[in-house]
């Protein structure tokens, strides 16, 4: 009984707090890739990163094709972000600050062969050093299988 009156007060206080807390989303950003569609998502726990690979329509068509032949108008963007814990759920890690944006664009040469232009920069547009070797990186990006989504 003695505990009751303060407990009701606590209850009222808690209720009052709930009413006044007006949360605001932090000034966080989205990173849309215009006219591009998702090819796949990649997690790398050794690097502690999570990445989204986007492609233009020809790149998506390549992903769907059974006979794998790259076309000369494919474009790819790989957006890699740091992994961080989801603020309200221990059990999920999500994309944090963006580490790098890699772009690959196919070109058709007069001889009929395809070459690829590769660039790597950060979100502010500054060029980042290429540490893995471009050829390997380009292959890694253009050969990613399309994630199955009906």
């Amino acid at each position: 009984m003695i505990k009751l009156i303060p407990s009701i007060l606590v209850l009222l206080l808690l209720a009052a707090c709930k009413e006044t807390a007006r949360p605001v989303l932090a000034p966080e950003y989205l990173h849309p890739e215009k006219d591009m569609h998702l090819i796949t998502s990649l997690i790398n726990n050794s690097d502690s990163t999570i990445a989204l690979l986007y492609g233009n329509e020809p790149a998506i068509q390549y992903g769907k094709a059974i006979e794998k032949v790259h076309r000369s108008d494919e474009k790819y963007v790989l957006v890699t972000a740091h992994l961080r814990q989801m603020p309200h759920w221990y059990g999920t890690n999500m994309n944090g600050p963006i580490v790098s944006i890699e772009q690959v664009a196919a070109h058709l040469h007069e001889a009929g062969n395809i070459s690829y232009a590769y660039s790597k920069h950060n979100r502010e547009g500054e060029v980042l050093p290429d540490t893995v070797g471009q050829a390997a990186r380009i292959r890694f990006i253009i050969d990613q299988p399309l994630a199955v989504a009906p």
Binding site: V24, L25, A51, N95, G96, V148
Partner: protein, 324 residues
Amino acid sequence: MLAATAGRGSFTDMETRKFTSRQRKWIITAGIVLFVGIGLQFTSPAFTNPPVTNEIAVPDEVLAIFQKACYDCHSNNSQPTWYDRIAPASYLVASDIREGRSRFNFSDWDKNPPAVRELLLWEMVNTIEQHKMPLALYTWAHPEAKLTATDLTTLKNYVNTLPGRHRVDTAAIMQPDASHTPVNTPVSTTGIAYPADYKNWTIISSTDKFDGGSMRVVYGNDIMVRAIEAHQLPFPDGATIVKVVWGKQPADSAGNVLPGNFQNVQVMVKDSKQYASTEGWGFAKFDGLQLKPYGKTADFAITCINCHRELVPDQDFVFNIPTK
């Protein structure tokens, strides 16, 4: 109280003396409080413990934590103290027990399918981490039920040993073919049609949901994206979120983990009138390559909102806010 009010004069004084009107008010009030208080005790809810049908099986140190802090409301072994049994507190206690047991019951544990049991255990860790459970009023009245940082670590270590944490898709990934393609647009029992055009929407986030061995990509439609950009909460009607869920393949030599089998598409649609009973959000889930609508009746949405409400009530029940 009576003695304090009337006990100033001698015995004879008492006999003859008339009470002042102030004293009379006190006596009457005290009488009423006592009368109503005692009366309440007769209607005070009785505490019963239904039989235990299937007790949760967890390591001893984990069980000890649950017994200490959760069993009073989430088991058939509630042990209310004497002061919990006094009305009107007893009403609150009884309703907490009723509600607590209805959410999950450690004494009736196999009522939940295995995947739900695991998810509940992760949810428990999160409610404790965010100081939502045990209920604040309860720990205030039962300080011995307060959990420590060590208790939380013990629970985290435990959930990380559960099978979902280590699940990977090792066989060849299932590819959709004509037999999978639904003829008509699937519609959930909550009235939400499968939003096939989500692939043209903006991606809000990508996640590694390691608790169940899955990875996800979350999309928002234009209304949702504009609201995020304008920091508008609650989200306006029409705002729609789609979450695509895959299993995970084993990591390659460089540590890259690729999506495994497609599991489902989950949807949240804001319509504050139609879905008023679930905080204005309509829920839907479309399972497997056939996109089979989940849930026999629309009631499945209650379990969806219960978890979202418990943990993210301050961001309009949405977990995936955009990140830097």
